[in-house]
Amino acid sequence: MKIETINPEILYFSLFAAVLLLLPLGVTNNFYLHNMIMIFFWATLTASWNIIGGFAGQLSLGHAAFFGIGAYTSTILYLKLGVSPLVGIFCGGVLSTVVAAAISYPCFRLSGPFFTLSTIAFGEVVFLLSSYFRDLTGGAVGLLIPFKPGFMNLMFREKIYYYYITLALMLVVIAITHRIANSKMGYYLISLREDEEAAKAIGVNTAQYKLYAVMISAFFAGVAGVVYAQYILFIEPKTVFSAELSTQFALMSIIGGLGTVAGPIVGAFILTPLSEFLRAWLGGSYSGLHLAIYGVVLIAVVLAMPEGIVVWFNEIVRRIKARTSKQGEVNA
């Protein structure tokens, strides 16, 4: 079989998916499954952020808002009206999308750091409002979802179900990112990221495509929020709307490789276990250290390999290949 004829990206993706699909056959320990689920969450969220932050270059530091809106929508619908989270997933995703479109459209006229400032402020507004409307959201205390296992409630005793749900979600987001990257839309986004005026001049409707990007991005963040709420069964403004969360999406993405398909996944797969490891290693004195280390890594990436790990790694592979092929020629 000629392996060259297969698109290597699709090949890697299939291998990656196959390994993760089969992983639970060997790993049944709940602790490891939980860690994998958390990695999938982070990867999904980071990849969704990457669509607007990486491809379109609109650096949002308020993305947690969409995650939280998803989580709160389905939870409130379920607790107050008894609506199944299966419907809630759809509602959460759509509401996030609508809010994202409404708030981003006017803010897109701000460029660079000013857009970022507006997203920080937006994230704070959503966080504050969710604490303020106590009747609806339970305020700072949060909402507890009573555990009633069942498919309709999207709650399960076994972690394995959540493993496959979050894995599927992550794979879908990767597939969609790949699709965007290789479509006209991907090129439009990259062109407007590199030079918005030039992109407009050659006829790219930049406002429209930025809007599409933020809507897709927010939809998946919202859906991930719903699944998160059904997995943890407890949500509070401090965890689902925190500015820290927003920073981490951006951070994992940039460390892995901004605006690449694999970057956010690599970022999440490296940084999530790192923080778990630090937690286990340092125990009680752990607070803050993982974020401090993230910060150091972030500065290092910004200074030393601004394209992120994925591009840096590809470059090294390319060099090694070039060297070995040269040696091959010499030997022959």
């Binding site: 270059g57 650096l59 530091l61 006017p106 803010c107 006229r109 701000l110 460029s111 660079g112 750091p113 000013f114 970022t116 400032l117 507006s118 920080i120 402020a121 937006f122 704070e124 507004v125 504050l128 409002l129 604490s131 303020y132 500015a243 920073t247 951006a250 951070l251 940039i254 901004l258 004195s285 607070s287 803050g288 250290l289 993982h290 974020l291 401090a292 993230y294 910060g295 150091v296 972030l298 500065i299 910004v302 200074l303 601004p306």
Partner: protein
């Protein structure tokens, strides 16, 4: 009426410190053309430095200025040299992440080293109040305000009349022209970032007698200083000065009538609106 007067007074007293913090932020933006997303965290560091001066060296918080301000200047210069200089020509994303990274490191190292405890100091004069007509002034707040005003005014004077100040202003107006006039632009960047951080050194010492210090204390002041700077027009020093007083006033007045959470939310909504519709700031003055 008396109550209202009291609210106005405490608002303006509060605003003085916002002005000082915001002048630092806007100075850095005006000259280095970078938004320092770690501004609040630098303030937090300054407050901790002042706190350690008081608790370990038994200094008076106002006297600790002599150690904290030079230390903050040095930290600012070091940040500019190590992190900012290499990314001056990088895309926006990298510049934002450079300073976000610095903030992340500072805040979480503080959390790791000094824990999340709220710390405060006791001063012999903290409960001294005096009355002027119907209005009560608390001594530390008044002192904080007066010193903040003096520092700000001294700072304006320095920028206006000293050689370095003139050089700094010329860099903010036109990098290339300043370079052609023989000004060492890179040195000016170092000085600008250092001075911006030094403003926070003052602010940290002045805040300590009237506030708590904890690792995320910078978040609130940092965000407020962004609001002030945007209101005053980015890079506009006088705008930042007036904006600080205005925000202090707004905060104090709305604090009486609104739930504090809702108040903050409205605050940020206004911030977004100003960003969108008044990008040159409320006062509409452009720094010439």
């Amino acid at each position: 009426m008396t109550q209202f007067l009291q609210i106005v007074v405490s608002g303006i007293l509060l605003g003085g410190i916002y002005s000082l913090i915001s002048i630092g932020l806007t100075l850095i933006f005006g000259i280095v053309k970078i938004i320092n997303f770690a501004h609040g965290e630098f303030l937090m560091v300054a407050m901790y430095l002042a706190f350690w001066c008081v608790s370990l060296l038994q200094m008076d918080p106002y006297v600790s200025v002599v150690l904290v301000v030079p230390a903050m200047f040095a930290i600012g210069v070091a940040t500019q040299k190590i992190v900012i200089n290499p990314i001056l020509k990088a895309p926006d994303v990298m510049q934002i992440f450079g300073t976000v990274g610095v903030g992340l490191v500072l805040q979480n190292m503080a959390l790791f080293l000094w824990s999340a405890d709220y710390r405060t100091i006791l001063t012999p004069y903290q409960s001294i109040n005096f009355e002027l007509g119907p209005v009560v002034f608390s001594f530390p707040r008044l002192a904080t305000f007066v010193i903040a005003m003096l520092v700000s005014i001294g700072f304006f004077y320095y920028l206006k009349h000293s050689y370095t100040g003139k050089a700094l202003r010329s860099v903010s107006q036109n990098r290339e022209a300043a370079l052609l006039m023989g000004i060492d632009v890179n040195r000016m960047y170092l000085i600008a970032f250092g001075l911006g951080a030094a403003c926070l050194g003052f602010a940290g010492c002045l805040l300590l007698p009237v506030y708590y210090v904890f690792p995320s204390v910078g978040t609130y002041f940092g965000i407020t200083s962004f609001v002030v700077v945007v209101l005053g027009g980015m890079g506009n020093m006088k705008g930042a000065f007036l904006g600080g007083l205005l925000i202090g006033l707004v905060e104090s007045i709305s604090g009486v009538y609104l739930d504090s959470t809702l108040k903050e939310a409205i605050y940020f909504i206004l911030f977004i609106l100003v960003l969108l519709f008044k990008p040159n700031g409320l006062f509409g003055i452009r720094e010439s």
